[in-house]
Symmetry: none
Subunit: 123 residues, 2 copies
DNA sequence: ACATGCGGTTTACCGTTTCTTCACCACAAG
DNA sequence: CTTGTGGTGAAGAAACGGTAAACCGCATGT
């Protein structure tokens, strides 16, 4: 994540599909409209978008958002992924952002319009 | 520590034809698109690609992926090779990745294309 | 103090996916 | 024909993940 050193951290803006996120302002825009996210939801979104395109393990997400080690049987990440998904989906229908890789973790990647066809199970 | 774009074992990337594989992330890309592989399928792919070009015995593959000794009449490797093949083929048609060497094992090697191969695979 | 509301945490239920093993088939060699 | 080898569909069990709801402070308003 090449955070350019002198780019002014307080105006840092992340982009992902039609999402715009300003980590230091706690602001997330979807198609220009502000999302209403709780702190946990927002931090989780930031953590995922910062690693978009890669599969991130629950342990890593938990460390990023909660700041401590994920304990066995803790489903917090799953619960918040679920909440995030429903808000993102409500804001931008017909687009999938968070993909599950069973046994590995989650991957954030805005899915170009959903053309479910046969062949590669496009996550 | 400055976040350098590419460093450390966690960004290790394997290449094979139009496949890109990140072992520590559980991510496999075919032509830039993420494949949906189960844990076993993924580990098997990694094990084969790490030895690409060589014939690998079932016993070796089993040890790499399952971590224990292959027992007599256990067809697990064959079953998962079959599953892997169908996903790879779905992702990249007209290309053969996994070759069977009866009596010896499997060999991973992206094949330029599906041509009627005459002759016997070189041992 | 009490009631209310909200977000975070944890639990529980349940459908889905994966793993394992078995069975049957095709093919090739002897 | 018989045997050895590999491809693959399917069944049952186990693991995994989605998510509603209960629970638990904590802050605010009356």
């Amino acid at each position: 994540m090449a955070v350019t050193p002198a780019s002014g951290a307080h105006t840092e803006t992340l982009h992902a599909g039609e999402l715009e996120i300003r980590p230091h302002e706690g602001l997330a825009l979807a198609r220009g409209r502000a999302l209403t996210l709780s702190v946990r939801e927002f931090e989780l979104l930031v953590a995922m978008v910062r690693r978009q395109g890669t599969i991130v393990k629950r342990e890593d997400l938990y460390r990023s958002v909660w700041g401590t080690e994920l304990r066995a049987r803790d489903r917090s990440v799953d619960v918040y992924v679920s909440k995030l998904r429903s808000k993102l989906e409500a804001a931008v229908p017909d687009r999938q952002f968070i993909h599950t890789h069973p046994g590995f973790g989650y991957r954030f990647q805005p899915q170009p319009s959903q053309n479910v066809h046969m062949g590669v199970p496009v996550h």
